[in-house]
């Protein structure tokens, strides 16, 4: 009996494609996000707000209680973590999910709040391989699956849209694209 390789090829392409659909979406979306890491923060939303305490404060008067009183003015008292003085004129109060930096001479400062960017944070966590020690094996399997999908994908169709005609030109174009960049920048 003749081995029907094209049938097996199609089945492999189909089932591997179904199974790794979610990972393909996760890695491609976070890939775009991480590609533009210099333009935005892909994992966190960082919001800043200027604050003005309207009076100067001194290093001596600052203790935990006073720091919490300051936070009450900006409704952040429940998020108090810790405070310290980066230099003689600056007070930094750490919050759950942010910080406040105050110029003690002027009472002016900046509240910075950070929160996890929905969906992207989770996807990036996986992309950064930071989801436990076993995730890297899953991502390795996904990488192998991508190669398998690419190779089996070449032979799904026969005829004018197959690898011997239209498919050949598009495949060659896809190979040339990275080669051109390598020739320019290598």
């Amino acid at each position: 009996m003749k081995f029907k390789w094209r049938k097996w090829n199609r089945a492999t392409h189909r089932d591997v494609g179904y199974f790794f659909f979610a990972l393909a979406v996760i890695y491609s979306l976070s890939g775009i996000a991480l590609n533009h890491i210099n333009d935005w923060n892909p994992s966190y939303v960082v919001k800043t707000k200027e604050i003005n305490l309207s009076n100067k404060i001194t290093k001596q008067e600052i203790n935990e209680q006073k720091a919490i009183e300051i936070l009450k003015l900006i409704e952040e008292e429940n998020n108090y973590k810790k405070f310290y003085f980066p230099d003689d004129n600056t007070l930094k109060i750490f919050l759950k999910g942010g910080s406040v930096v105050i110029d003690m001479n002027t009472g002016k400062g900046m509240l910075e709040k950070i929160s996890r960017r929905k969906i992207f944070y989770e996807f990036n966590l996986l992309h950064y391989n930071n989801a436990g020690k076993y995730w890297k094996w899953i991502s390795d399997a996904f990488a192998v699956a991508l190669m398998l999908l690419a190779i089996t994908g070449l032979f799904v169709l026969k005829g004018k849209n197959g690898i011997t005609r239209r498919g050949a030109w598009l495949t060659i174009a896809g190979i040339l694209l990275p080669l051109i960049f390598l020739l320019i920048y290598l």
């Binding site: 890491i37 892909p42 919490i68 008292e77 810790k82 310290y84 003085f85 919050l95 910080s99 391989n129």
Partner: protein
């Protein structure tokens, strides 16, 4: 029977004592940031445990954090190792215990020469871009004077920012050169930790 029992008891005692030794060996001395900085030279490539407060986490990639101990001016840079990959931004302001391998980065005159050359090349490239912008403005000046002037002004502003950056960088390079000349070694060592484990100590959030 009694003999067998006594052999089992002895073996059990040996294993128990071995276990205790292992536990004792596992007890690691936790250094403060100041202690680490004092001893770092002799700790390169060894595993250390350091306790401190996280001052800053690089929020873009979470690959680095900076921590301080009792004296906020004494700081320590920590890089995420393979086991960690990234630090959560939420640990800023938290007390943490960092376990990792001590790394040394040396800055010598050859490194500074290379750095300076790169910065000069970057500055030259930026100047060329602005000069080209000015030339093209002259060509179309009669038609779109205002828009083009604004664009070039913006480029000049950008260049000014870059110039500030570059002068800061050149100042820093010069500072390092002086420090190397004054030091006994022909390089400046910078110590950091490549983190393999980070433990965040619980913080009681006060509500009153």
């Amino acid at each position: 029977m009694l003999k067998k029992l006594s052999v089992i008891v002895v073996l059990a005692l040996i294993f128990a004592s071995c276990g205790n030794n292992a536990e004792e060996q596992e007890e690691v001395k936790v250094l403060t940031v100041a202690q680490f900085n004092e001893q770092a030279e002799n700790l390169v490539d060894s595993v250390v445990t350091v306790e401190g407060t996280v001052e800053h986490v690089c929020k873009h990639g979470g690959k680095r954090l900076r921590m301080f101990g009792e004296d906020p001016e004494v700081i320590l840079d920590v890089e995420a190792g393979e086991e960690i990959n990234m630090f959560e931004a939420e640990i800023e302001g938290s007390d943490v215990i960092i376990e990792g391998i001590v790394a040394e980065f040396r800055i010598d005159n050859a490194y500074l020469d290379e750095w300076e050359a790169k910065e000069k090349a970057k500055l030259a490239q930026d100047s060329t871009v602005v000069a080209e912008g000015e030339e093209s403005t002259e060509e179309v000046a009669e038609v779109e004077t205002t828009e083009e002037t604004e664009a070039v002004e913006e480029e000049h502003e950008e260049l000014n920012v870059n110039e500030h950056h570059v002068s800061d960088v050149f100042g820093q390079i010069e500072k390092y050169r002086k420090q190397i000349a004054e030091s006994e070694k022909d390089y400046l060592p910078f110590y950091s930790i490549t983190c393999t484990k980070v433990t965040v100590k619980e913080i009681e959030v006060m509500t009153k």
